[in-house]
Symmetry: C2
Subunit: 181 residues, 2 copies
Amino acid sequence: MDDRKGHRQLVALHLPGDFVDLHGFPLQRLDHDVASLTEVSVAFAPHTKLTEITQDYPHLTRMLWFSTLLDAAMYREWIFRLGRLNALGRVAHFLAETHCRLVATGLSHGQRFRLPLTQADIGEACGLTNIHVSRMLKELRDQGIASMEEQTVEFLDRDRLYRIAEFDPKYLYLDDGILVP
Amino acid sequence: MDDRKGHRQLVALHLPGDFVDLHGFPLQRLDHDVASLTEVSVAFAPHTKLTEITQDYPHLTRMLWFSTLLDAAMYREWIFRLGRLNALGRVAHFLAETHCRLVATGLSHGQRFRLPLTQADIGEACGLTNIHVSRMLKELRDQGIASMEEQTVEFLDRDRLYRIAEFDPKYLYLDDGILVP
DNA sequence: CGGAGGTTTGACGTCCCTCAAGGTAGGTGG
DNA sequence: CCACCTACCTTGAGGGACGTCAAACCTCCG
């Protein structure tokens, strides 16, 4: 979403495998843009097919519904991040959430993961300038908590990272497996 | 949602008629608290009944789904508010959104509405201290844009308020009537 | 070689928080 | 009636976190 001056606010980050913009199905029109930061492969789900699913497969419908509400749970957490955390906590929280989601989908093991974002992108997710993101990453590095170089993040002290971020992955509903309903 | 020190971040404000916590149906457990700021009357919708609805009434199911995605649209806007607006814009945006929603449900006509919140509550919605909310309300008052006294808000110059808030009510999906699908 | 995009660092400014004091209105008990 | 409390709002002074501006560096690429 862009403000009047054209400055961007990221409201979500989609990872490989995510159902992008399923919100557009019940809502019909969308209030934000979707853009890709990397090369992507896309499969399309026509609204007519989705409507058929909601006619014939109640259980599958609830699963689709669930996946949009998982997005909503992340939105709530992003509100918390922006409203209650300082810059260091925001960056830490963003990294922690992204790592958890990558692990859940099998795209990361251990404490390293690829994050093809610039510091400016991270700033747009966390309501910060790229410059201050740079400072916060340095702080995390200096404190031996996490490092990021060449688009690769490594957690050196996950517990301290979580504490700074006030992060608790419960809201990602992972322990039940992604699809509960 | 509370941070470690017990400071609260509001992530949503429900108005009379809203379906509170419908998210809890597909999600099963919830990652935030629900509290009332005023006296309320409550009707309960048992999950068993909702499950029956999703079995037998696809159209009604899509309407319920839609209403949760309207919440999600507001979450996105709250993220934008916290990430990209300054204090004056945040307060203005919060007032503008609440007014629009009240008008949509017939609970406000014209440019006045009752808002039974303290300045501390508004601060918890906007990521500000009660003290700075007080200063921003004074600013809006001094500039002849909006006033709030005794829990009643009045818009004196709605256009300027919208401009400060970078507010566009499209995301509330009101022009189609609340229930599109 | 030059240029573009990204990162880092320093100096400085400002927005908002913190702390403190005082004001008002309502409620309770004398 | 006054005295006193609580909750909320207001205002001022000072400080800190983050933004802005500028400069330098690096890598990649043509």
